[in-house]
């Protein structure tokens, strides 16, 4: 009986992160339906990402900038794509600060900018 109880507790502890993962994915999917306008897309080179998990840490920080509608990191290309809200402008100083808080480094020499 004690063994059975132990196995149940261990299984519950192992399942907990998977449950949280499923919940947060469901939450993330909802706001995407609200996109309406065609905002500006900016691309930057960011150093320091070494795995797929790093992208989320960078995006979490960059998404806190009020002018940012959404962002997407790419650890393979060492790239950050930022979609700016309409009628808003992104301050490079603030972006640099947020990238630094994610423990990465924004390369100011290789920034490309394009309007969609």
């Amino acid at each position: 009986m004690k063994t059975l109880r132990s196995i149940i507790i261990m299984a519950a502890l192992l399942m907990m992160p998977a449950h949280i993962f499923a919940q947060s994915n469901a939450q993330e999917e909802q706001p995407q339906n609200n996109q309406q306008s065609q905002p500006d897309t900016l691309r930057y080179t960011v150093y320091g990402m070494d795995c797929p998990g790093c992208e989320g840490g960078l995006e979490k920080q960059v998404d806190k900038i009020p002018a940012v509608k959404s962002s997407k990191g790419n650890w393979v290309k060492q790239e950050l794509q930022v979609i700016v809200k309409p009628d808003s402008s992104l301050r490079i100083r603030e972006l640099k600060k947020r990238v630094k808080k994610a423990n990465f480094t924004l390369d100011m020499n290789t920034t490309k900018e394009e309007d969609e």
Binding site: T45, L58, Q61, K100
Partner: protein
């Protein structure tokens, strides 16, 4: 319980408590981003034996880490332990001492070709665990962690020194412990699945414990092949630790191969 039995239990618990060093994908010298949570859960199976008995231990550590600032990380760990004995119906189980760790970034450099990070940590257990699986003694720990990541490769080194039973609560104070873990891995992006990677890893873990009144100094070296599969913020990990060299003494239990299965989620 007689003195010999208490000593024996102490040796088993010490081996369980402190040989959690190493064990797949330790971020070592790289502190996580600010406001980043890392949740890890593992299943560990290990056995120890000597001429008299064999101890089977299953452990489920649950770890939560949080990047308070880019250079300061807090981590808490709880471990559920289940122990059985081959020649005895006795079963020990319960929650081990909670473990708190703070990691400080000392240096980090990000370039197009590599990332280097150095961090130190200070940690301690809180001796309030279940009496069945905890010695209930303070064992603070100091450590240094270094990471070198040349693009798709990684070398992580973590060293720690554990001051066992600093309050001298136990009848026989165990010797202090030094652990060093080196992990070499490569990150292979999966072209068919964006934001996913496959990562083979090899770890070398060395642990040595100073002599005490009860036991002579002893050491163990593990060689551990493993693999991680990472998709976005979630990674699944598997590692087998093979003891390739260990001190053989009648008063010390031999450690056998261990299995570690785990998952990590970041949010």
């Amino acid at each position: 319980m007689n003195k010999r039995a208490v000593l024996f239990l102490t040796i088993i618990l010490l081996a369980v408590n402190h040989l959690q060093a190493g064990g797949i994908s330790v971020d070592a010298g790289l502190t996580p981003p600010q406001d980043r949570f890392i949740l890890r859960s593992q299943y560990r199976y290990m056995t120890m034996d000597n001429a008299m008995m064999r101890v089977n231990t299953q452990m489920t550590p649950l770890v939560l880490a949080y990047g308070l600032t880019p250079s300061f990380t807090l981590m808490a760990r709880g471990v559920y332990v289940h122990q059985s004995f081959d020649n005895s119906p006795e079963i020990n189980n319960g929650l081990n001492d909670p473990f708190l760790l703070s990691k400080f970034r000392l240096y980090r450099k990000n370039t197009a070709d590599y990332v280097i990070g150095i961090a130190s940590h200070i940690a301690s257990n809180i001796p309030i665990g279940s009496k069945e699986v905890s010695m209930r003694a303070w064992d603070p720990e100091l450590g240094l962690n270094v990471s070198f990541r040349p693009r798709f490769f990684a070398v992580d080194v973590s060293a720690s020194y554990i001051f066992t039973d600093i309050s001298e609560k136990l009848e026989t104070r165990p010797g202090n412990i030094f652990n060093i873990n080196t992990a070499v891995s490569t990150m292979i992006p999966l072209k068919s699945i964006p934001n996913a990677a496959f990562s083979p890893v090899a770890e070398i873990t060395y642990s040595t414990q100073a002599a005490s009144k009860a036991t002579p100094s002893h050491s163990i070296l593990f060689l551990s092949p493993g693999v991680s599969v990472i998709y976005s913020n979630l990674s699944l990990e598997a590692l087998v630790q093979f003891p390739v060299q260990q001190t053989e003494q009648t008063s010390i239990m031999n450690r056998n191969s261990r299995l570690i299965l785990g998952l990590k989620y970041m949010f």
